[in-house]
């Protein structure tokens, strides 16, 4: 390259740039070598912009945050980003990351007898003090066992040694993590922002005192929001239902109440920017937590109460700073129900004002079905056109919508649909659910009719370019929801409903996506199960089940064999209606919402009685009893409860 006066050169850097200097900056040579032989080595090496690397030797407490799926799926997880920032902000704590290695990498690690390592310092997981697993859904349970084995750590808590790291779990699946009770030293129930630091302090004090592992578990069990499953015992009745769930010591609480943060903490801004192509590679900003709508099928809506939101005054600078520090071109504004943010219009307007010249795409999912939503989307759409519109009516008859507590005025719905097409969106995706309680064929037929009518509206406005897409989900009655006592519908009935919809949509030129009944079975068992599933999970993993989220169908025979050989009946968890007085496997996990409230809500549901948004009328679900005292005055943080 010819030099000119207009040339910028770094000579010192060039001098330092020798092969040896580079080798030292990388991990040990064996790891380096195997990276040549895997498909996407960038998944395992870290080094992203905004990565935090602290000095291993001089930092006393070392966490490794693990998302037990591949990097491509886990890296953008917002919970992981929050913990990474919060823990690393402490001078005496370091937090690194690790993910499930993909099959090719696992084979390399096993072949060369290498342990799984962290992305930042390439240290074996076993060298950390605390391994914090994120458990957002159940289909990654087998990956947890695999990661433990790849790290040389025993799967069963009872087999671990004094020197093993503390194995912690947290995330949405932990509201019933009983099936994983055998494998975790402790679970964090609820929001982890505060409790992760408190656990760190407790751990440091314990370490300084040279305490035993058992002592640590006792201390943790007494700690608010921490559940140590090995210190609880479950007794069963003859019929297999639960007789009692008891703590093993008197000084340990019988119920573990989830943790919440009364005020949402400052949002992370220095997101790590992945170097390799990953799924959903965009920046997520959480605008609101919790939901007051009370849809009866919705696990997230029940376990994440109360509603708390970030104000526009907080959000705009956060988005600005985060964009500046990442260079992302796409931003998702996340919440369970965006339209319910009290400043949502102002937020979209300000986003427009501040970022209209930046060539960025903004996403605002989870909008209510009302014409106002189209205005909101329109505001964002102008920034970067493209993409489709998504609505989730969930049920197509008024009766069915009353049962699930998601009322919707038909007229409003079709008016909104019309407006969407009129504004030029060419594709509209509609989400519906089947397998709902009291559902008849009539309710299913109504889904098809709605799809056809929407298609007709689209065609009248945009002609043949209007596309309609039906997304059909199957209800899995989840723990801590009013439907928790109900069985899932039989695979035959579900299949018949899917076949009907498939035939109808094909004829009408409507695209349809759905899950075959088999593919939701694993989620059914694991989400509704109890700790007797531990050996089943262990066996399935031993026989090769992993990445169940990727190949649920392929792994199903392995799971069936695992149930059979361990003598556990899977149908007990799927197809049995549970008694209202039965002790449920997750009854000792207190989400703040009372069991009696859920019971009443189920009864209302079956009578077709709705329970409108509780921001207007409080139904005393229990949240204010549990957390009302921590509530700050409204100027600091908005809570949805009146």
């Amino acid at each position: 390259m010819k030099k000119s006066s207009q040339t910028y050169t770094i000579t010192t850097l060039q001098k330092k740039f020798t092969a040896k200097a580079i080798l030292i900056t990388i991990m040990n040579s064996l790891i380096e070598k195997i990276l040549y032989h895997v498909e996407k080595p960038g998944r395992y090496v870290g080094g992203e912009h905004n990565q935090i690397e602290k000095d291993w030797g001089s930092t006393p407490l070392r966490w490794c945050l693990i998302f037990p799926d591949i990097y491509d799926i886990g890296q953008t997880n917002l919970g992981l980003a929050m913990l990474y920032q919060i823990l690393n902000a402490e001078p005496d704590i370091l937090a690194e990351r690790s993910f499930a290695p993909w099959i090719d990498m696992e084979a390399q690690l096993r072949e060369h007898d290498l342990p799984l390592f962290s992305l930042e310092s390439k240290k074996a997981l076993k060298e950390f003090d605390i391994l914090g697993f994120t458990l957002p859904y159940e289909s990654i349970y087998t990956n947890v066992l695999n990661i433990l084995e790849l790290s040389g750590i025993e799967a069963y808590v009872s087999h671990r040694t004094e020197n093993d790291p503390l194995i912690l779990g947290g995330g949405q699946a932990c509201f019933n993590a009983e099936p994983m009770a055998d494998f975790f030293d402790a679970f964090v129930i609820g929001e982890g922002e505060e409790v992760s630091l408190e656990i760190s302090h407790l751990y440091k004090a314990w370490k300084a005192n040279n305490g035993s592992r058992q002592e640590l578990l006792f201390q943790l069990a007494k700690f608010p929001g921490v559940y140590v499953p090995s210190l609880y015992e479950v007794d069963y009745l003859q019929d297999g239902t639960i007789e009692a769930i008891r703590p093993l010591r008197a000084d340990i609480p019988a119920k573990i109440t989830k943790r919440i943060v009364p005020v949402l903490p400052p949002h992370p801004e220095k997101f790590l920017v992945p170097n390799v192509e990953i799924v959903h590679d965009r920046m997520s900003i959480e605008i609101m937590r919790g939901c007051t709508r009370g849809c009866r099928f919705c696990h997230a809506g029940m376990v994440n109460r109360p509603v708390r939101q970030r104000s526009v005054d907080q959000l705009i600078p956060t988005i600005k700073n985060a964009l500046k520090s990442t260079g992302y071109e796409e931003v998702g504004l996340l919440s369970l129900s965006s339209s319910d943010h009290t400043q949502i219009l102002e937020l979209t307007q300000q986003v427009h004002e501040n970022f209209h010249d930046k060539k960025l795409a903004f996403g605002l999912p989870s909008l209510r079905i009302e014409s106002f939503s189209v205005d909101l989307m329109n505001e964002l759409q102008e920034l970067k056109p493209g993409g489709g519109f998504t609505l989730a009516p969930e049920a197509a008859t008024e009766r069915m919508r009353a049962v699930i507590n998601k009322p919707l005025d038909e007229e409003d719905f079709y008016f909104t649909v019309k407006k969407i097409f009129e504004h030029g969106w060419r594709s509209l995706k509609l989400y519906y659910m089947i397998g709902l309680p009291t559902e008849t064929m009539e309710d299913v037929e109504a889904i098809l009719e709605a799809g056809i009518k929407v298609k007709r509206i689209g065609k009248s406005i945009l002609g043949n370019s209007a596309k309609v897409h039906l997304g059909i989900g199957t209800l899995i009655p989840k723990p801590h929801t009013p439907f928790q006592w109900l069985p899932v519908e039989s695979p035959e009935t579900i299949q018949a409903k899917i076949d009907y919809l498939k035939a109808g949509t094909r004829k009408a030129g409507i695209k349809m996506s759905y899950n075959i009944p088999d593919s939701s079975l694993l989620e059914t068992w694991l989400s509704r199960g109890d700790r007797r599933l531990g050996p089943v999970i262990y066996r399935a993993w031993k026989n090769g089940a992993k990445f169940d989220a990727w190949g649920e169908r392929e792994n199903l025979p392995i799971w069936r064999e695992a149930f059979e050989s361990t003598g556990v009946d899977p149908d007990f968890y799927a197809y049995r209606e549970r008694g209202l007085d039965e002790i449920l496997p997750w009854d000792h996990i207190d989400i703040g919402v009372k069991k009696n409230f859920l019971k009443q809500d189920l009864q209302w549901s079956l009578r077709g009685r709705t329970r409108p948004d509780c921001r207007n009328t409080c139904y005393a679900c229990g949240i204010l009893d549990a957390f009302g005292e921590t509530r700050p005055d409204n100027n600091i943080s908005y809570w949805g409860c009146p």
Binding site: K3, T7, I22, Y36, V45
Partner: protein
């Protein structure tokens, strides 16, 4: 906005963890880094506006380099010193901008004018420099050096433009090779290493120079 874009040529190094980053990922990394610099970057025209960026040549996965070149375009002239500084602030540590210069807009594209690449290969103790030399020279005595790539037979022999050996350099035993890198005659050192029965994963290969016409 200035209507004639300003063409900026950037020379950078790539090392450490980021040598495991593929071509497309490297390009994406630069796009985001450029956005972080908040420089007046020129975007492509049309519906899906992207940053206009042009990398001279793909660096094979696992190789390091002190001589990668790319072009970007700005809407207005900016001091090259500032561009280099801002870019280095925005880039991960394993990529360093070494030189920035303004070049003529009318120059042909980097790919079109690229002729060859220089590499330094560190020779592993097994098989060692002598064996390496012998195998290499044996290879060259043949009339052709054929490999099969994407079902096509390619003769590497005319693409080996120069080579030499260095023993006892500060970085151990090394071999220098110059390989053709033009659009229709592109040779990769790892292909050559494989012919020498050496696992490229055992060597450190560094690209030291890109030669243009």
């Amino acid at each position: 906005m200035n209507d004639t874009p300003i063409r900026i040529r950037v020379k950078y190094s790539k090392s450490g963890n980021l040598r495991f980053l593929g071509h497309i990922d490297t390009q994406n990394l630069f796009e985001r880094a450029l956005r972080r610099t908040e420089l007046p970057i020129r975007h492509t025209q049309g519906f899906n506006k992207r940053i206009r960026i042009n990398l001279a040549s793909a660096l094979p996965l696992g190789f390091i380099s002190e001589a990668e070149i790319l072009d970007i375009w700005l809407d207005q002239p900016i001091d090259t010193e500032i561009i280099g500084k801002k870019l280095n602030e925005a880039l991960p540590d394993d990529i360093k901008v070494l030189e920035v210069q303004m070049v003529d807009n009318a120059l042909p594209s980097l790919q079109a004018s690229l002729v060859s690449s220089d590499y330094l290969i560190s020779i592993p103790a097994d098989p060692g420099l002598e064996t390496f030399k012998n195998r290499f020279q044996a290879l060259l005595t043949g009339e052709k050096i054929e490999i099969i790539k994407r079902k096509k037979t390619i003769d590497l022999k005319p693409m080996i433009l120069d080579y030499s050996f260095q023993s006892e350099s500060p970085d151990g035993d090394q071999s220098f090779i110059r390989l053709s890198s033009s659009p229709n005659a592109n040779a990769r050192p790892d292909d050559l290493l494989q012919l020498l029965e050496i696992d490229p994963a055992d060597c450190l290969v560094k690209r030291t120079k890109l030669n243009f016409s």
